[in-house]
């Protein structure tokens, strides 16, 4: 096991720069998830750690050793590919034992390690099948088995669950996390799915267009997003935003939104009078007016009601924006009805409209 240190790493394909100076410190044994929209450079960064892509600038170290010029086979990292990349002409057993065989490990050692990994991953009965004869979830486990047999310094996962159906994805998520808790191998996990990131990570790195937007624990990012991008990316359903101008008059603060809608804010909110801001509130922090709002809430019209059983989700329109609200109690809402939604004062986020930074 080892730490991974990424310093000012840049990557260009020809003249197109896709990674613009990224720094991440990954501690020994940590489970770090790189998350971001498609095309933001997650895979590229992961492949640079693996040694499958040249590093254009900066350094990557694995366990104190700078690996920029070290070949993939000598980096002692194992990777699970999105399409699994199982060797089609080898049985599950041979797929898992291939790396040891190349290292001329003793037959008994190979056998022991493969059987042990198969045991952990519930593959013991499938060892003599070929990849084609396996289901998606089984292939996924074989790919992980191939990685753990090697007992590498670092595990790299590139969207390993994106080819699985929703139910299996949730199950495998738990399995991978349990596996990490058992093996405690440093892991870098790439996904575009923020739920995967939230549920699995010790720490999340949110990437966007080749830069790091924010690094933090899942709840850190959820409660204190550094900017509009992170606020909008983390959380499902996504945070509601209302654009407007901040007004202060000494004793109170409010936002003037489009169409003249006014939204009263607690006086303590940051920002100066006249500043263009984006007001953000998570769906579960919008509460129903229970009579004492004194006009502080947002008057909205219900567009859609979506009960999930555990929760009740509504989409409503206010101030020219669509807002989502989630309630744990069951209310008799109907589309077209008016509703007053009050943001919980301690859960309000204000962002600078220009820079997108959290105020």
């Amino acid at each position: 096991m080892a730490s991974v240190v990424i310093r000012d790493v840049e990557k260009a394909f020809g003249s197109t720069k896709v990674i613009h100076g990224i720094g991440i410190d990954i501690a020994d044994g940590e489970f770090v998830v790189l998350v971001g929209p498609s095309g933001c450079g997650k895979s590229t960064l992961l492949r640079m750690i693996a040694g499958l892509e040249q590093i254009t600038g900066g350094t990557i170290s694995i366990g104190e050793r700078v690996v920029n010029d070290i070949r993939p086979k000598d980096r002692d990292v194992a990777m699970v590919f999105q399409n699994y990349a199982l060797y089609p002409h080898m049985t599950v057993y041979d797929n898992m034992g291939f790396s040891l065989k190349l290292r001329r490990a003793d037959k008994a050692v190979v056998d022991e390690r493969v059987k042990k990994a198969a045991d952990i991953l519930n593959l013991s009965t499938l060892l003599h099948r070929y990849p084609r004869q396996l289901s998606g979830g089984q292939r996924q486990r074989v790919a992980m088995g191939r990685a753990i047999v090697r007992d590498p310094q670092v595990f790299l996962f590139d969207e390993p669950l994106s080819n699985l159906d929703a139910k299996l994805r949730v199950a495998m998520r738990t399995e991978i996390k349990a596996l990490h808790q058992r093996l405690k191998t440093t892991t870098v996990y790439v996904t575009h799915d923020q739920i995967e990131a939230m549920t699995m990570a010790d720490r999340i790195v949110v990437m966007h267009d080749g830069i790091v937007e924010q690094i933090g624990t899942p709840l850190d990012l959820y409660d204190r997003p550094a900017n509009l991008f992170v606020a909008g990316f983390i959380g499902s359903p996504a945070m509601n935003f209302i654009r407007g101008r901040l007004r202060r008059n000494g004793t109170g603060a409010l936002i003037e939104a489009n169409g003249g809608t006014r939204l009263t804010l607690p006086n303590e909110v940051p920002g100066v009078d006249g500043q263009e801001v984006v007001f953000g509130i998570r769906p579960e922090h919008l509460e129903l007016d229970d009579g004492d709002a004194n006009g502080a809430g947002l008057r909205a019209e219900i567009l859609v009601v979506e009960p999930t059983g555990a929760e009740l989700q509504i989409v409503a329109e206010a101030a020219g924006e669509q807002l989502t609200a989630v309630f744990t109690e069951r209310h008799p809402f109907a589309p077209g009805e008016p509703v007053t939604l009050c943001p919980r004062p301690d859960a309000i986020h204000l962002f600078d409209a220009e820079t997108g930074d959290h105020l």
């Binding site: 086979k73 790396s99 070929y130 084609r132």
Partner: protein
């Protein structure tokens, strides 16, 4: 009561008929019947006629009589025929080995990231798109005793003193026609194998590299086994084409010198048409069939879907 029983019987009969027609074997026979009949008619008639002629003493302009195995018996004592069998086997074996060695090498080369890749691929295809007769004439000219560009170049570089007699000596002539066949056959092999190489997912190589495989080990453990199915198909076709080659030989040497480059196909033609002995020519051609069947059977086992290719989709 009675009607009910009868109806039940009808139903049972119908369902038995339906079951028979639902049977995959029955169905496939029925569906293959039309195509099978056409093939039988248009493929087996010429083949059957050829084989029949081999058992007769037909000459051009004179219908022959059935003479049983006489043609074959006389061929077994015919030195020229036996030489042509030897030539054909030699020609096929040596040419195939070279075609595959060079073709695979070229395919691997072209599968890399190369500058001007499309251009290079087009160049590799050139020998294939030039009409065989045209390239045969070009070779004939290159092998000419007086005007050979090869001899000329070698002399200019000071490597040899006098022009090589490419087509005048038996072994030199054999090597020369084999070289021409290899030149002509490489594109087919290279392009087919390149197509095969391109179906191998790059992530397999990446996974192998991370697993610790060197370039040679990646070739040995990933490329070769995954390429094997297509390799055996290409090998079969290449062997069949080479074994039955006619054009190149006929245009370059016509079987000479002293029958040293006569293949079974060229000898069959020579005996049958210029020689007029249709029956004997047909017998020589028919004698190729066992070799071809053997070659096909051998590669049939290579062609069979391997165990790892069976079952499920592989996305």
């Amino acid at each position: 009561m009675a009607t009910v029983v009868r109806e039940a019987a009808i139903e049972r009969r119908e369902s038995r008929l339906a079951r028979i027609f639902d049977h995959p074997t029955v169905l496939s026979v029925i569906f293959m019947l039309p195509a099978g009949l056409l093939l039988t008619l248009f493929l087996t008639y010429p083949l059957g006629l050829g084989i029949w002629l081999g058992f007769t003493d037909t000459r051009i302009g004179r219908p022959g009589a059935f003479i049983g195995l006489e043609n074959y018996i006389s061929l077994f004592g015919d030195g020229v025929f036996l030489l042509s069998v030897f030539n054909t086997l030699l020609y096929t074996t040596v040419a195939t080995v070279f075609k595959f060695a060079i073709g695979l090498w070229l395919a691997l080369l072209l599968n890399n990231r190369l500058p001007f890749k499309a251009f290079l691929r087009a160049i590799v295809l050139l020998p294939f798109i030039i009409p065989t007769v045209l390239s045969a004439i070009a070779f004939w000219w290159m092998y000419d005793t007086q005007f050979s560009i090869i001899s000329f170049a070698l002399v200019e570089f000071g490597l040899i003193d006098e022009f090589i007699d490419f087509l005048g000596q038996p072994n030199a002539a054999r090597a020369s026609v084999i070289a021409a066949n290899v030149w002509r056959g490489i594109p087919f092999v290279a392009i087919c194998l390149l197509a095969g190489l391109q179906t191998i997912s790059p992530s397999l190589y990446e996974a192998a590299a991370l697993d610790g495989a060197s370039a040679w080990q990646r070739f040995r453990h990933i490329t070769v086994p995954t390429l094997m199915p297509i390799l055996s198909i290409v090998l079969t076709f290449s062997v069949l084409f080479t074994f039955t080659d006619f054009q190149l030989i006929y245009a370059i040497t016509r079987g000479g010198p002293i029958n040293a480059t006569h293949l079974m196909a060229t000898l069959a033609f020579q005996r049958a048409i210029p020689g007029g002995q249709l029956g004997e020519g047909a017998a020589i051609a028919t004698a190729m069939i066992p070799f071809l069947v053997a070659a096909t059977l051998l590669s049939y086992y290579g062609l069979q879907r391997r165990k790892w290719q069976q079952g499920g989709k592989d996305d």
